[in-house]
């Protein structure tokens, strides 16, 4: 059998969908095999996984709550990826957003909610945005590789958060636990009446709509992708490349910062290390799976949030370590990446000289 490849001329309408589903099924199959190899009942575990993630109203709420920070982070990541700025620093920007918002809470704890919450959003956004602006400036001015600088800043940002909650910001009444004191009620994002969801969800909708309009309804948004090819191409956008890099980085940082703020305020109610749950890294998975589109990112964020919740469920039911979720996440992303090949190329097998061991991709 010989493999013949032809480039697809027109886009394959159902292809992306089909490939995505195929890739997910493939990774679920591999995960089931891994479970079976460990002596766990694979089908039962997978059923528990889906039930835990999407199977009940309670599960869906839980998934939706986890989707909020994930969505905000990947929205920002997608904006930078559109420009081919490989920002993998959402994790650190998320940490800084949480720190910035907490600073606002600790400093202005007496303010009423109408003032304090907006102030938290401003401080969290600025802190995350500035943290992202550093690698943006370094890339724009000195061509310093942003993959590395954002990564190093992730570690530094997370350690800064830990320093604060272990040191200067530690609640003296916390029995030695690394956490700030409980936020005043004015600093906690309230719940949507009648549900267990909080208004952070509305922030997602607003931010998502804003980014969507920016990317698809404005000239600059259209041309971001073009400027990804470098300084010369960015002239199409009538803006210097360096400025655009800094702009997308700052936007991403602010959005990731908001994710950190929402998680700190609405879910934890105080700053503590456990808010660092790897959303910033998963955001990259989400952004890429969704092909950098703000609408599909919502779907992908929901699904990957479901993965986290579902794994928690099989962790309880079958004593499967939480790391199993990372395995599934990695497998899904790798399979989807490989699968995208089939949306670009048509693969045909032709019987010519039979070559053993050479398979049709």
């Amino acid at each position: 059998m010989r493999v013949r490849l032809t480039r697809r001329q027109e886009s394959w309408k159902w292809g992306s969908c089909l490939v995505f589903l195929g890739a997910v099924a493939f990774s679920l199959g591999l995960s089931a095999l891994l479970l079976a190899a460990q002596g766990k009942p694979p089908l039962e575990a997978l059923r528990g996984f889906f039930q835990g993630a999407f199977g009940s109203g309670y599960a869906l709420t839980d998934t939706l709550r986890k989707a909020v920070p994930l969505y905000l982070c990947s929205l920002g990541v997608a904006v930078t990826f559109r420009m081919r700025v490989w920002n993998i620093g959402a994790e650190g920007q998320y940490a800084l957003g949480a720190v910035g918002a907490t600073w606002a809470v600790l400093t202005f704890s007496a303010l009423p909610m109408v003032l304090l919450l907006p102030l938290m959003f401003i401080c969290g956004g600025i802190a995350g945005g500035l943290w992202a602006l550093v690698p943006g400036l370094l890339k724009a001015r000195l061509q310093l590789n942003e993959i590395i600088s954002t990564l190093m800043l992730n570690y530094i940002g997370i350690l800064l958060l830990e320093y604060l909650v272990y040191g200067p910001w530690k609640d003296p009444a916390s029995f030695g636990f690394p956490m700030t004191e409980q936020f005043p009620a004015a600093a906690v994002i309230p719940r949507i009446p009648g549900t267990k969801l909080h208004w952070g969800l509305a922030v997602c909708l607003l931010a998502g709509a804003a980014v969507w309009i920016w990317l698809t309804r404005t000239r600059l948004g259209y041309e971001l992708r073009a400027s990804g090819s470098g300084p010369r191409a960015s002239r199409y956008a009538r803006m210097p490349y360096g400025f655009l890099v800094c702009l997308v980085m700052a936007i991403c940082g602010a959005l990731a910062g908001w994710a950190g703020l929402v998680e700190t305020s609405a879910s934890a109610g105080r700053l503590q290390p456990s808010i660092m749950a790897g959303y910033g890294y998963t955001a990259i998975v989400v952004a890429w799976l969704a092909r950098l589109n703000p609408l599909t990112i919502a779907v992908a964020a929901f699904l990957l949030a479901g993965l986290r919740v579902g794994v928690e469920n099989i962790q309880l039911m079958h004593q499967v370590p939480a790391a199993f979720g990372d395995i599934m996440e990695g497998l899904i992303l790798l399979s989807v990446l490989a699968g995208q090949f089939f949306t670009t190329y048509k693969v045909r097998l032709r019987r010519e000289t039979p070559v053993p061991g050479e398979e049709g991709a």
Binding site: L144, I284, A323, D326, E329
Partner: protein, 306 residues
């Protein structure tokens, strides 16, 4: 700082720089073949776990060491499959590889947390260990450290004295031209990714077999990412990789000592040091305006014949 303090510090720098050195050289080979693999952290973790498990099962440290390399190379094959065969984005695939590798190591390693393993013990190299200053710094380690002394030289020889090395460079510099010249670019890139993974796995194996002698989750603790950074810092040159790795090892060792000496500095701030310094070193190297020497086609895939 006195000699009595400085010499153990430098010796510790060599030891904690060694796993990073293995990984950095591995990533260097991969990148010179034109493939960026951000999965080093994941590969190191898989290497560390494979080595740990094999050492525990067989009691053969050398076998375990090689197995660590092979385990990571198997994971790297996933990256090669996605990027070389299926044309996936190298940045994203590498990240996925780290997520997958870390997940696998934590998932399969969880039952072994805190358990110890037979591994490599330090011994003095006859004669050399007695050299003042240099002896204690370089020649009172374990066999894997001594092995790592030869590695940069081997990598240098590969790229400067062998046809294979030239071909790998060609596949990374200008794959289309290399193809036109009749080279098997896909094969060369596979080789670069797999051997890079193998070396990253050896670095990981060093951690479980010689550095800690026991399993904990997240053993690599960011060293894989440092290795990715050091390749840039080293301008893709093996000699400078040694400098970078030991510099990083030095900061790590310094940080640990400062903590142990009861200095009244919070550990989180000290732990920032290696990352901050790596960033600063990178910045300094860039500011000096040295030509970076990045492979021309780094990060771009080679399209298949259609």
């Amino acid at each position: 700082m006195t000699w009595e303090l400085l010499i153990p510090l430098l010796a510790a720098a060599v030891q904690s720089g060694t796993p990073v050195l293995y990984a950095t050289l591995g990533e260097m080979i991969t990148e010179r073949g034109g493939v960026l693999n951000l999965g080093v952290e994941g590969m190191m973790l898989v290497g560390a776990l494979t080595a740990f498990l094999v050492a525990k099962a067989t009691g053969q440290p050398w076998l375990a060491f090689v197995a660590g390399g092979l385990g990571a190379a198997a994971l790297a094959a996933g990256h090669a499959l996605v990027c070389v065969v299926f044309q996936g984005n190298q940045v994203v695939s590498g990240l996925a590889l780290t997520i997958l590798g870390a997940g696998l190591a934590n998932y399969l390693g969880t039952p072994y947390i805190g358990q110890s393993t037979p591994g490599f013990m330090p011994f003095d190299v006859p004669l050399l260990a007695d050299i003042p200053a240099l002896g204690p710094i370089l020649f009172q380690h374990d066999a894997l450290v001594y092995l790592s002394f030869f590695l940069p030289l081997l990598v240098w020889l590969l790229f400067h004295r062998t046809r294979l090395g030239m071909h790998i460079d060609a596949a990374g510099e200008n794959p289309e031209a290399a193809k036109a010249a009749g080279l098997n670019v896909f094969g060369l890139r596979w080789l670069a990714v797999l051997s890079g993974g193998f070396l990253a796995g050896l670095g990981g194996a060093y951690l479980s077999l010689a550095y800690t002698h026991l399993w904990t989750n997240g053993l690599a603790a960011g060293r894989g990412w440092i290795a990715v950074a050091l390749v840039i810092f080293a301008f893709w040159r093996p000699g400078r990789a040694v400098l970078g790795a030991y510099l990083f090892g030095g900061v790590m060792a310094f940080q640990l000592r400062l903590q142990a000496s009861g200095a009244n500095l919070p550990s989180s701030l000290l732990l920032m040091l290696p990352y901050a310094l790596t960033l600063l070193a990178l910045l300094f190297a860039t500011l000096r305006g040295v030509r970076s020497g990045a492979p021309g086609a780094l990060g771009t895939n080679v399209e298949p014949e259609t």
